[in-house]
Amino acid sequence: MGINKTVTRRSFENKPESSLLKDKGLIKRFTDRNSEGRGKLYIYSSAILMIAAVVSITLFLTLQGLRSFTVDHLNIWDFLTGSEWYPDRAENPSYGAWPFVFGSISVTLLAALITTPVAIGCAIFMTEVAKKWGQRILQPVIEILVGIPSVVYGLIGLSVIVPFMRHHFGGTGLSLLSGSIVVGIMILPTVTSIAADSIRAVPDSLREASYAIGATQWQTIWRVVIPAAGSSLITAIVLGMSRAFGEALAVQMVIGNARHVPHSIFDPAATLTTIITLSMGNSTTGSVLNDALWSLGLILLVISYIFIVIIRFLSGRRNAR
């Protein structure tokens, strides 16, 4: 060790102007055409900007969202569990967010329930059954579905699904189920393509192993490939759910926007996002209603973070295996 050190030092002493030695001034580091500094500055500042955006959104939403409890003295528990949302009532206005929390969660779960079987079926089709032309047809279809603006989904829901519901189940047709179906179709491509990726990631050696012990194609898919894809398939579903949870426009057009907890899936309902988009324009900054809407936004953010934690947990478990 010691010998090596002296040798290195001596070689530097012999060539003091060696290009190996990096000793540039702070300013020159950025002005030099070939300097590392510029690249580093660019990359680091992008990363910091991104982190700053997330932190400031979170902080801002938290501060604004907590105003209804700190400034307007609403009770947190009553706000979360109360089922009466009458901010416009002249005497004794009430702010109960439960119908919207319930609406958001049930739209998300129902949409996942509707989408999952179809998405996994499609994913299996394009990865296992008809690899070539399944891929060739379904891939563009998925891309088109992703690209359609949500207002178009809402319009189609309004003109196809809502009349269908009205005709077969009575009522207005604007219902929790209509909203769930529209959102379910919206998240279908997301879930399908992530599920297909996770099925493709299953090593071929497992398929070979399965065929070599006399498994049929279905047995291989259900007993070997799907279990091996396991947690990444769940990640696909959770990602779809987090998208469903945040969707506002299309849901708002078909869900009926009722401010009470629905009695059945055929009743109209509302979600956190729909009530925010509907009421925000009518509220004045600093009013109790405005603060209460920010609080709804904060709930949305918290639940989205929970989704992210679940996804991180699942993918962490996958990597650990």
Binding site: E208, A209, S210, A212, I213, G214, R223, R321
Partner: protein, 270 residues
């Protein structure tokens, strides 16, 4: 022609072949991957309850050939096979053959150990469940029997419910052999089963194969000539898609007829 063997194959300890009846008889087998003619006009017998080794340099078609015996090449879209491989009076290559049933009778073990990412017992039981076996007692019995057969029982009996991916490479490979045994096949095909393993694990597998050949017909592809010399009764030498020479291991290693064979087994190329 008698060839002076060099040191690397002088460790020949192969058991003298007992002339058992022919179980699988390949005749004029040609295999193509698209335009690539991978196996050319191969004809060779596989004798019952013996070990047949396929040797040859990389890309010589030996793996392609062995994968045709249980139709694993069906999984490769571009692969195409011609010729006749007789097994119990049926041509294996006939498109009407029930490949699922065929693979239950002719099992296979691969180069990389590929246990399912499930529990150890589940790995053995899955092939049985595929055939519709539900009886738990029977499943447990067969699990124990197969694990004992491959000498894995004492090592894993306390952790049958743990994931098979936690086993060592050699243990995983023996588990894969046990899995292939679960359906009591006639034939076990092994495609370079020890090339991913350390020497100790490899020799355990070799001992195991010598034990298994009492009840099973074994075909093994190997890169390792000493391995063929140690365990095989019959050896086939493949070169550039052709079967250069087939014979009892003793004959092939001590009095090869073709110059190519002699060059290969004496380590001059490959």
């Amino acid at each position: 022609m008698v060839v002076q063997l060099e040191n690397n194959v002088s460790c020949f300890t192969g058991t003298p072949a007992v002339d058992t009846p022919v179980l699988i008889d390949a005749e004029n087998v040609n295999i193509y991957y698209g335009d690539n003619h991978a196996v050319k006009q191969v004809s060779m017998p596989i004798h019952e309850k013996s070990i047949t080794a396929l040797i040859g340099p990389s890309g010589c078609g030996k793996s392609t050939f062995i994968r045709t015996i249980n139709r694993m090449n069906d999984l490769i879209a571009t692969a195409r096979c011609e010729g006749n491989i007789d097994y119990h009076g049926v041509n294996i290559l006939n498109p009407k053959v029930d490949v699922v049933q065929l693979r239950k009778e002719i099992g296979m073990v691969f180069q990389q150990p590929n246990p399912f990412p499930k529990s150890i017992s589940e790995n053995i039981q899955l092939p049985l469940k595929f055939t519709g076996e539900r009886n738990k007692k029977k499943l447990k019995e067969i699990t124990e029997k197969c694990l004992r057969q491959v000498g894995l029982w004492d090592e894993v009996k306390d952790r049958l419910d743990r994931s098979a991916t936690g086993l060592s490479g050699g243990q995983q490979q023996r588990l894969c052999i046990a899995r292939a045994l679960a359906l009591k096949p006639d034939v076990i095909l092994l495609d370079e089963p020890t090339s991913a393993l350390d020497p100790v694990s490899s020799s355990k597998i070799e001992e195991l194969l010598l034990e298994l050949k009492k009840d099973y017909t074994i075909v093994i592809v190997t890169h390792n000539m000493q391995q063929a010399a140690r365990i095989a009764d019959y050896t086939a030498f493949f070169y550039q898609g052709e079967l250069v020479e087939f014979g009892t291991t003793k004959t092939l290693f001590t009095r090869p007829e073709k110059k190519n064979t002699a060059d290969y087994i004496s380590g001059r190329f490959g």
